[in-house]
């Protein structure tokens, strides 16, 4: 059976608002002075019931990205920033998984000097065989990298055209779709991951029993309607002891300047209307969400919070959660991962950042 499956559903979601009204709405929000009068904190309180969580998808966002979907793999076009950001996301994911793995080994075996060549091997193999879910996979930028790293990857997106583009792109690549190319049997098979795409919302997966070693959702949180519900869904899909990786944009004057004023309006590198500043989420809001969030995966038990304590600057402990800024260096044309341990108020964490949290065992 093919590991790479057909998109389960090819029917596009009908947007609730038309694209023209969408654009008007965006135009207005851009004209609003800096959009900084919007709420000082975004509502991340846990909604009362599960049913509310099914409506986290914003239909006009989906319609908007569907229009851009053909451009996902134009590496010098609309999504060039995301393409260049991808290695940094992967670096963060890999290093965090490796760190947790080593911490675990240390607890079990104590410190060992004689690791020999194991470090290098670990580095390469750390994702091998993991079940990873990529929520909001878009054109599949992250999903492809996860699969190549050896993870059994499921990429889901609420836009069927995104899923179609992602599937089409992966079909050209024998590393991702081995079955379509029988002659590729000569290739080394040491890191055979797999890649599946489905047109689905994260909430749809809650009905299924499968849970994931890692759930990733990159640059999605700032596009959903009910971030608390969305986070809860993602959290629910993580196995106990598993990982949740997010990346999003902090709601600061700097992020307004860089991601909306510069990127969309002045340099026009990104289509105007891609971002809405009011929907950005601050790292402190994610941390406080996971300090309160304690829903266990086994019903009826009251689990412990994912983040049990923080240091004086509001930073969580290294073993529970981590916030790392990502900074674009224009003259090098690449993103770099900010050094760890900075304050949440450090300039590097004022715009794009990565967030990791681990589900308690």
């Amino acid at each position: 059976m093919s590991l790479w499956q057909v998109p389960r559903c090819t029917v596009a979601i009908t947007p609730k608002s038309t694209s023209s009204s969408r654009n008007t709405h965006r135009a207005i929000s851009v004209l609003r002075p800096l959009a900084l009068h919007t709420p000082r904190s975004r509502c991340l309180s846990t909604p009362a019931s599960q049913t509310e969580a099914t409506s986290t998808i914003n239909p006009s966002e989906i319609a908007f990205f569907s229009k851009l979907s053909s451009q996902w793999w134009d590496e010098q076009g609309e999504f060039s920033f995301l393409h260049r950001m991808n290695p940094v996301r992967m670096q963060f994911i890999r290093e965090k998984l490796l760190e947790v793995k080593r911490d675990g080994e240390y607890e079990k075996d104590g410190f060992r000097f004689d690791r020999g060549g194991q470090d290098e091997g670990d580095h390469v193999k750390v994702m091998q065989g993991l079940d990873v879910l990529d929520v909001g996979c878009g054109g599949g930028l992250l999903s492809e990298s996860l699969a190549r790293s050896g993870a059994h990857t499921l990429g889901i997106d609420a836009s069927s055209s995104n899923v179609a583009i992602a599937s089409l792109h992966a079909s050209a690549d024998p590393q991702l779709s081995p079955d379509t190319f029988p002659s590729s049997s000569t290739r080394p098979t040491s890191r055979a991951g797999s890649l599946t795409y489905r047109h689905a919302a994260a909430e749809d997966l809650l009905q299924e029993p499968k849970r994931y070693d890692a759930v990733c959702s990159m640059e999605v949180l700032e596009h959903v309607d009910n971030p608390a519900g969305f986070l809860e869904t993602c959290a629910e899909l993580v196995k106990p002891g598993g990982h949740l990786f997010l990346s999003t944009i902090a709601r600061t004057p700097l992020s307004y300047f860089l991601t909306i004023f510069m990127a969309e309006q002045v340099l026009q590198k990104v289509t105007s209307g891609t971002h809405t500043h009011a929907k950005y989420v601050n790292p402190s809001e994610l941390i406080s969400f996971f300090q309160k969030y304690r829903k266990p995966s086994v019903a009826g038990e009251s689990g412990r919070p994912w983040i049990s304590r923080t240091y004086e600057h509001g930073l969580p402990t290294r073993t529970e959660a981590e916030v790392r800024g990502m900074v674009y260096v224009p003259w090098r044309g690449e993103w770099v991962l900010a050094p760890r341990g900075g304050s949440l108020l450090a300039p590097s964490a004022q715009c794009n950042y990565l967030f990791w949290v681990r589900k308690p065992l």
């Binding site: 260049r84 991808n86 079909s171 590393q175 379509t180």
Partner: protein
């Protein structure tokens, strides 16, 4: 396999624009199945088994995670077994040699290939002497002066600035290293018949049709296929450049060993004559290599002429004043044109007559006539400022080839030519005066291999533009600086126009006084070894060196315009400029 294609088609059919492509693709798939085998999927296809291509294969194989996860094929039209089994007697050397900088050597060691290079056939360069053929202004670089101590240089021998190696010795070493390391498929005696872009919505991958009937589908196609790179034409990358009206004569020179009172034969000599530089590169105590850039008709006359003439002329070219060299060139070419080439004794007479007219004592080091007369075992005064006298040319080693400057407009293909990347001579061809051609290629290879390794670690697609961009960014500017500097040096020194000669001799002497500039020039030759993970050394040094040469070249332009009268003013301006350089940095 079929359901997915159907669903993709359904999706595409809803988009008008995609219709023709889908139709073509489907046809392609069906005919492909009927008419021939499926293309073989390869992650990396390297076209070209020269030093750059072999070094890339070796560097990729040295990363375990790369070798484990990528399928790599190298395609070469020639017979590589003849290179792998190449051998010569210990005294004789092949005529194409390269000066491997310490940086390049460190890279080859890290990869594991240097151990397979026969060390006895290589020679360190511990000193360089460079002088102006017209004004005789001279600069001397030594390795120890530059702080290149043995600590920098883990082989434990005396400090070296570079190591002179026959290209074949290096290529053979790289091949032996490859056969010792698994995972790389080498297809030699196989020509690339055609390269086409697969027809596919969203951009196809390169399909490489080979003369043995196979077709390779490449995630990444590497052009290491030399100056007339077919990969470059496939990628639609244009290149700009020009040919110098110059041929380089190469030959292996035999000469008596240095006396015990002289420094050993580890000094490289280069004299900038207006016809082009002539370089003497040490290979062993009694053999050295020649690279002499000169006018094409002269190169033809010297390489194809009577045996013995070339050796005499080489000795003269390092010693006689330029006026006499020009006179000799004229005489040789006139005789050649008249169909009566000069005989050995005629040329000997001409040289000895010219020496007399310049008051060169025939028992001094500056005489080319000295062949057997110095039997005392005592070195002559100033003999260390000149290469040893050549006694003969090793048979069959004299040859010449045209010189050109060429730089591709980009190192990575885009659009229809995407998933291609150029390294080595396919990307750039350089004047050999600084001996940098091969080193630039090795620099490319080191950087590209590192780039591929990083991308594999991050799960990226090594053929993607995003993955290759760091390579292009790091190498293009770096190579361009070195190439322009060498080009400007060539142009600067091929003139006899008085103010320019004066300006440049001031330039050289000023440079001689300024240690920082000298160090920069040295760095430029990649002499300081660095680890493979860091960037190539000498970026700052190159900037400084390039600025210095820009300064000289700038002076050249102004001096040409103003002529002799204003030379003083220009000269002092140039001196100011050169003196201000170290502070600027």
């Amino acid at each position: 396999m079929s359901p997915c294609i159907v669903s993709v088609r359904v999706f595409l059919l809803s988009r008008q624009r995609a219709l023709p492509n889908v139709a073509q693709r489907v046809r392609k798939l069906s005919t492909g199945a009927a008419s021939g085998p499926h293309p073989e999927e390869r992650d990396v296809v390297i076209v070209g088994g020269g030093p750059a291509g072999l070094a890339l294969a070796g560097a990729l194989a040295s990363y375990k995670h790369v070798r484990d996860s990528l399928s790599i094929t190298l395609v070469e039209a020639g017979d590589l077994s003849s290179v792998e089994n190449w051998s010569l007697n210990s005294g004789s050397f092949s005529n194409r040699v390269s000066s491997i900088t310490n940086a390049s050597q460190a890279f080859l060691k890290a990869v594991g290939a240097w151990d397979h290079v026969e060390n006895d056939r290589t020679s360190p360069i511990e000193e360089m002497q460079v002088w102006d053929g017209v004004s005789d202004a001279r600069i001397t670089f030594t390795a120890s002066e530059l702080g290149l101590t043995a600590a920098n240089n883990d082989s434990g021998v005396s400090p070296q600035m570079a190591r002179l190696t026959e290209n074949l010795n290096l290529q053979r070493g790289l091949l032996r290293h490859l056969s010792a390391s698994p995972g790389i498929q080498i297809s030699d005696k196989v020509k690339v018949k055609a390269i086409e872009s697969e027809v596919r919505e969203g951009g196809g991958w390169p399909l490489i049709h080979l003369s043995d009937g196979r077709t390779l589908r490449a995630r990444l196609l590497v052009g290491a296929d030399g100056f007339n790179s077919p990969v470059r034409s496939y990628a639609g990358i244009s290149s700009f450049g020009w040919s110098y009206d110059t041929q380089a004569i190469v030959a292996t020179l035999s000469h008596p060993p240095r006396t015990p009172f002289e420094p050993p034969n580890t000094t490289a000599y280069q004299r900038f004559l207006p016809t082009g530089p002539i370089a003497f590169l040490p290979l062993s105590p009694t053999a050295s290599s020649l690279v002499w850039s000169t006018r094409p008709p002269l190169a033809a006359a010297l390489t194809k002429g009577v045996s013995g003439v070339l050796a005499l002329m080489i000795n003269a070219a390092f010693r006689l004043p330029n006026v006499s060299m020009e006179y000799l060139h004229k005489v040789i070419l006139e005789a050649e044109a008249a169909g009566t080439p000069l005989t050995l004794s005629q040329i000997k007479d001409e040289i000895s007559w010219r020496e007399k007219s310049h008051n060169i004592d025939k028992h001094s080091a500056f005489s080319s006539m000295l062949t057997e007369s110095n039997q005392t075992g005592m070195p002559l005064e100033h003999s260390e400022t000149l290469p040893p006298l050549i006694s003969s040319i090793q048979p069959g080693t004299a040859a010449s080839f045209p010189l050109r400057f060429n730089h591709a407009e980009s190192y990575i293909g885009e659009g229809k030519g995407s998933r291609t990347v150029l390294v080595g001579d396919a990307a750039h061809t350089i004047h050999p005066l600084a001996g940098q051609g091969l080193n630039l290629g090795l620099g490319d290879v080191e950087c590209l291999a590192r780039c591929i390794s990083n991308t594999v670690l991050q799960g990226g697609d090594i053929g993607s533009h995003t993955a290759l961009l760091p390579y292009a960014q790091e190498r293009y500017i770096e190579n361009h600086k070195i190439m322009s500097a060498c080009d400007k040096l060539h142009k600067l020194y091929t003139t006899t126009f008085e103010p320019v000669v004066w300006a440049r001799s001031v330039g050289l002497e000023v440079i001689n006084e300024l240690d920082s500039i000298k160090a920069a020039l040295m760095l430029s030759a990649g002499s300081s070894p660095k680890g493979r993970s860091s960037h190539r050394p000498g970026a700052a040094g190159w900037n400084r060196a390039a600025q210095g040469i820009e300064g000289l070249a700038g002076g050249f332009k102004v001096a040409s315009m103003l002529g002799g009268a204003a030379a003083d003013v220009v000269g002092s301006g140039l001196r100011q400029l050169l003196k201000s350089l170290p502070q600027k940095n």
